[in-house]
């Protein structure tokens, strides 16, 4: 006898290899994982729309979409990259260096670019912030007109008004002490988030200390962040620093590298960061159980862009805004395809697909700087109309 198994256990079916129970289970699990992986590969968080079809509407089905031609081109580009970068190291493809911190290691890429971030100065901001009486709760357009006729042209004047003095005083105190966050919260209560005054508020920021932040992720939520970019404007330069994951274990270190760069007195500039980038970073911190904070004041310019440019654009995707601003990119992939490109990198270990991701992120940072300045100009031209 060559086997000792209980005859009851021998299946009726003749299998090629009469494997043990554990092996069979393993085999089934691997098959289940394979089918799971296939479904994940097919699941897309964006819609590919073939041209000629009707223009994308603002319908929620099409919230995240890209053109078929761009999609096809990106996939062709990916193939080309895989060929071009075959056998190349990360350092060759994307010059940078390994950064170590208390959370581990990640890859740091630094660049610098000559451009200038334009914002209102403090005096200009203050003048605007106090001359809109509607910032006080209870004052609408009608009351404002009436008050202005009576000679109360600024909130400061209202500190002498019998009815409004208390609120006017509270507001002026925040404005005078440059409590930027508190003023922002106050204005949010009173005005739409897209109101130009909230943009002008940037003039209040201490030492004009700004950081533009943009992250790239493996998806819309609850997946690893693969690249964190930050751009800091100086007098006539913008220095970008990008923290890249060479592989998933680098994530805590890359996040840590970013948040330790952001002192509490720095003001953030983001595009949809209030609902995307910042909560995303917080979720990842909680995921890893890292005690870290990112509670800086945030100028989310998506809101302003919508107000200023929506009538002129089909949508407010950064790519569309760029076309309007006349910005062109040498290398680009649609933002929606970033997860796919990174996934290809992970699977093939070919650094090619990383190149456009890093460039895409860097360009986003620079575009945000331009957009921020451009909005300031637009408001200034429009001023007096609102």
């Amino acid at each position: 006898m060559t086997f000792t198994k209980d005859p009851m256990d021998v299946p009726a079916v003749q299998r090629e290899n009469n494997c043990e129970k554990g092996d069979k289970e393993k085999w089934s699990l691997f098959r289940a994982a394979e089918s799971l992986r296939k479904r994940i590969g097919q699941a897309k968080e964006y819609q590919v729309i073939t041209e000629k079809e009707s223009e994308p509407q603002s319908s929620p089905v099409f919230e995240n979409w890209l053109w078929r031609s761009d999609y096809d081109e990106a996939l062709k580009f990916e193939k080309q990259l895989l060929k071009q970068y075959k056998g190349k190291t990360l350092e060759e493809a994307l010059p940078g260096k390994i950064l170590s911190n208390e959370q581990g290691q990640c890859y740091k890429i630094s660049t610098s670019c000559i451009t200038k971030l334009k914002t209102a100065n403090y005096e200009e901001s203050k003048q605007l912030l106090v001359s809109d009486l509607k910032v006080l709760p209870g004052i609408g357009p009608v009351s404002e007109q009436l008050l202005k006729k009576q000679g109360y042209t600024t909130v400061e004047d209202l500190t002498r008004h019998p009815k409004w003095k208390k609120q006017a005083y509270d507001y002026m105190k925040l404005v005078d002490t440059k409590e930027t966050s508190s003023v922002q919260k106050w204005l949010w209560q009173r005005l739409p988030k897209s109101h130009p005054l909230l943009h002008y508020l940037a003039g209040f920021c201490q030492d004009q200390n700004f950081a533009i932040v943009d992250i790239e992720t493996l998806g819309l939520s609850e997946r690893p962040i693969i690249l964190l970019g930050v751009a800091k404007p100086t007098k006539d330069h913008i220095c970008t620093t990008q923290f890249l994951l060479r592989d998933i274990p680098d994530e805590p270190s890359a996040i840590w590298a970013l948040i330790t760069q952001l002192d509490p007195n720095i003001s953030l500039i983001t595009y949809n960061g209030k609902s995307f980038d910042i909560p995303y970073i917080k979720q990842r911190l909680a995921y890893y159980g890292i005690n870290g904070y990112i509670d800086n004041i945030n100028f989310d310019i998506l809101h302003f862009t919508r107000r200023a440019l929506k009538p002129k654009l089909t949508d407010c995707k950064l790519e569309t805004v760029e076309k309007y601003l006349g910005i062109t990119r040498d290398i680009n992939i649609p933002g929606a395809l970033v997860p796919h490109f990174y996934d290809t990198y992970l699977r093939t270990q070919n650094v090619g697909p990383l190149v456009p991701i890093v460039e895409h992120n860097r360009q986003d940072l620079l575009t945000l700087s331009t957009l921020f300045s451009k909005l300031y100009e637009e408001w200034t031209i429009d001023r007096g109309i609102h």
Binding site: V13, L29, A33, I40, A286, Y287
Partner: protein, 763 residues
Amino acid sequence: MIEEFIKNIKQSGSYKRQIVHIEELPAHNAIFSELEEPLPENLQNILINRKIQFYLHQAQAINKAISGKNVVITTPTASGKTLAFNIPVLNTLTRDKKATALYIYPTKALTNDQLKVLKELEKESKIKADPNIYDGDTPQHQRANIRENSRIILTNPYGLHQYLPRHDLWRIFLQNLKFIVIDEAHIYRGVFGSNVAMVIRRLLRICNYYHANPQIILSSATIANPQEHAQKLTGKEFEIISDDGSPRGKKSFIFWNPPFIGSANTIRRSTHQETKDLLTLNVLQKLQTLCFTTSRQMAELITRWTKEDLRKSKQDNVVTAYRAGYLPQERRDIENRLKSKQLIGVVSTNALELGIDIGSLDSVIISGYPGTVISTWQQAGRAGRSNADSLVTLVAFQNPLDQYFMKHPVDFFGRPHEQAIINLHNLCITLGHIMCAASELPINDESDKQFFPELLTLSIQALEQEKLVRNTPRGWVYSGTARTAEMVNLTNISSKTVTVLCNGKLLETLTLNKAYEEAHIGAVLLHQGETFICESLNLDPLIANVKKKDVDYYTEALKDVEVTIAKTYEKSDKGITVGLGELLITESYHTYLTKTGDTVINRTPLDLPPLTFSTVGLWFIVPGNIREVIDDQGLDFNGGLHAVEHAMIAMSPIFAMCDRWDIGGLSTSLHPDTNASTIFIYDGFEGGIGISETLHSKIKQLWEKTLELINTCECKEGCPSCIYSPKCGSENEPLDKKVAIIILKEMLKLHAANYRTARKRRV
């Protein structure tokens, strides 16, 4: 009043001896008991104000829960289970000003209902808990506030599955979580239950991360294995509370068999017509009645017909339908009108089987056996909440299963409740949820074994192989490109929903399968007893347009189900053919019937692309020589094949730890892919869920058990205990018990012979 009513029915001229049995369930008095420790003053005041004295089971449950035990309460409907689990929660929330509690209900309708109860208790107890619902319907702008301020949150497992990855937003709530209440836990069985068991483990894992160790209170309908079920559902040990101390009025349970039409004694009058007549009688007698039907359409039709009958006496406005698919506001309105007795008759699908509070009812009509003993008693429990007498009437269908119970009523009343089965070793389910867990917190091979004692290491290996998780110094991190919760579906049923519009306004929503039946072009869609004609069914996007039109007919779509073998994983060919593989199940809706009453007045072809889903299944061939033996004796081979399929499905839960409703089957005397008589048994879920693989590996034991089941069953021609299926698509016909025995014996003989030759080869 009930006795009078029954007497009247029996004496009326139209009575045709439909009552085949009356089971009198005697009244019993309340048994009261005291708590071991006094409650805080605010809760005592509630008891005084509401004149509440605890029944035995309530006191037992509260005592155990307050002493820190996990408790499962299994007393019948309307025995005051809700109070039994709310008191310990409120006790803790009174004593600990930060403490929070999470209530999990299987449906949104139930959360809405229970929210009201909890809000009243909060007010009376003067604690600040701000009870709130948090589910898919919760507006985005209220969510943060609820998470941060509510100490009692009500949700459902589907929601929980989605929210767990964002536990960072729930930190404060979770850190203070003292109680998890899981109501109607018997719903969580089979594949759905196995999924929910995993969601609960993920929740407990996250609680553990926030250093919370909540106590769990479960309530369940009567099932055969409450303690085991609670333990498997949550991974914790439980104290069971089952001594019902609540008072009951006398309940008369009638078995009602529709009379034969004509003299041949072969065809019975339609169950629906009988139900309609009974409901009309109940309403005219002012007995507040809830009528359960087995389908949405029947709920609507019986409502409509009853209204027509009641129009003469101008009482048609006291009857309505109630079912899934109605908008929440409509449902709440019906619930309230039922409670305030504005409605006397409500016709419902099993949507009202669960514990939605609709007050006490005098009478319940169950139109057709609902398929399980658990459901039958749940539905029957809706009658007789108070101390008054009550009536339950089970109206039989003509199918063999219902007819069996009509012939053997004593069998029904002695029948044990089914077991609630949960499989913690299902590979597909476990794998999916371990992947979800990896996107919630990095997985640690060692410390996470306490939550996933089975298959953790192997699942991680499989996920790593597919690069869905990566090993990092902090544990295994999810690295796929899709959101895990989107990839794992708790019911494993496609969630495609069709929106039904009437003049551009939302009327209701339907699953795609239901839409094929009820919202194809030309279909009569019934909504609250009104008829709508469907003008279009658009498949992309999924929208059906209907127009209100009063018609006196209804429609019924007919489908063919086909099974094709798409891919063979394993197959043996020597003497006996048993296969395992990917099956493609195709449902083609080809025709719809236009009917009035039970008469078909028209047949119209349908032009709809078939619905297909791929799954995993097993099949085996019954060789031609067996068929010849049977045919030679003049016996019904097809009936035997069909009976074997049913009985095997009935026995499958023993091997695969699933619910029989999770499995599908098909038997055919000639299948094009095998060119022979074939029986298929497959997972009723897109992509397969591991049931058939288990059954395939134990096919011999499954045959043996099935043979034993049929052989030892005392019935002559078959019964619900052996070859009748509660979910047969062809009305349990044809079925042949004797032939089934022959087929199974022959298959086992072949298997043994095959095994002997295999052994010879090996030696």
